[in-house]
Symmetry: C2
Subunit: 169 residues, 2 copies
């Protein structure tokens, strides 16, 4: 891990999209962390990342360049809507410098402010060791294992994990 990088986290604005899309496209193309199809279309990803969620944020480095992003949304409707779901992406060149951790801490505060009581990650790829370690370090528990639920682009079918953390008790 390199030296932590100080980031400022703010709400996504429409003008950010031209910077955000290459970051998301590169991540999803790899097919090793997110389920979105590696050849997803820009318009579809713009919808799922910036329009469908309750809120979308960007993390900016010292030069104001966007080096990370996350969304937050209810994981289920109605009687399950007190549990939120988030997705985080960090630019490959900026990984290992505490940006995902900073975004996850930020998202937990935002979640509580928005009235959510818990946070759930539905499909954490078991081979994504960096993420698995990080979520555990941040107080999330593995509450389930889904056998071969993720079709990894290089490794084929691999297990996925469900992570959960209660934010309000």
């Amino acid at each position: 891990m390199s030296a932590p990088l100080k980031v400022s986290i703010r709400r996504f604005e429409a003008a950010d999209w031209p910077q955000l899309w290459p970051l998301l496209r590169t991540t999803f193309e790899a097919g090793d962390t997110y389920a979105y199809a590696p050849d997803s279309r820009e318009a579809d990803i713009r919808t799922v990342w910036t329009e469908a969620p309750a809120a979308t944020f960007v993390a900016c480095g010292p030069d104001e360049q966007i080096i990370g992003t996350y969304f937050i949304k209810a994981n289920q409707p109605g009687l399950g809507s007190h549990v939120c779901n988030c997705g985080y992406v960090v630019a490959p060149a900026a990984q290992g410098r505490g940006i995902a951790a900073a975004m996850c801490e930020h998202s937990q505060r935002e979640a509580v402010a928005m009235g959510f009581r818990a946070m759930q990650f539905n499909l954490v790829v078991s081979t994504n060791e960096r993420a698995v370690r990080l979520w555990q370090w941040l107080g999330f528990s593995v509450v389930g294992t889904l056998p071969r639920a993720f079709h990894h682009r290089r490794l084929g079918y691999v297990d996925a994990l469900v992570f959960y953390k209660e934010l309000v008790t």
Copy 2:
């Protein structure tokens, strides 16, 4: 359990909706099995139950009356789309007569025919003992427990279970 009732299961057709909606509304109003808000609007439920899924089926009794229904859809996009998700509803007057079991067996065959490799239920209410027993009897495993993830209308926050079954190995 009363005597099993023989049902015929077929694809949903638009003309079925006036029979289907009271069945779904009654189920969701109870707020003890599904997350859909108890006061959900008809148009929203019609979309989630009959338009958003890959397929919707109805189970008809001897007099052709609709006494059950289920949907089937991919549980995740792209690299998770080989795992399906189903939701089943049985008319209160017809419960305990094997209709959910018949629909679940039917849905597993349909799932395989549609190319799915596994089936996942994301939010089975832990206090819904009938469902918990049935899914286990039909070969599903509890792969996760989500603490207080369901806001039960009578009981408050209760745990929800994640069930999973591999259909192709």
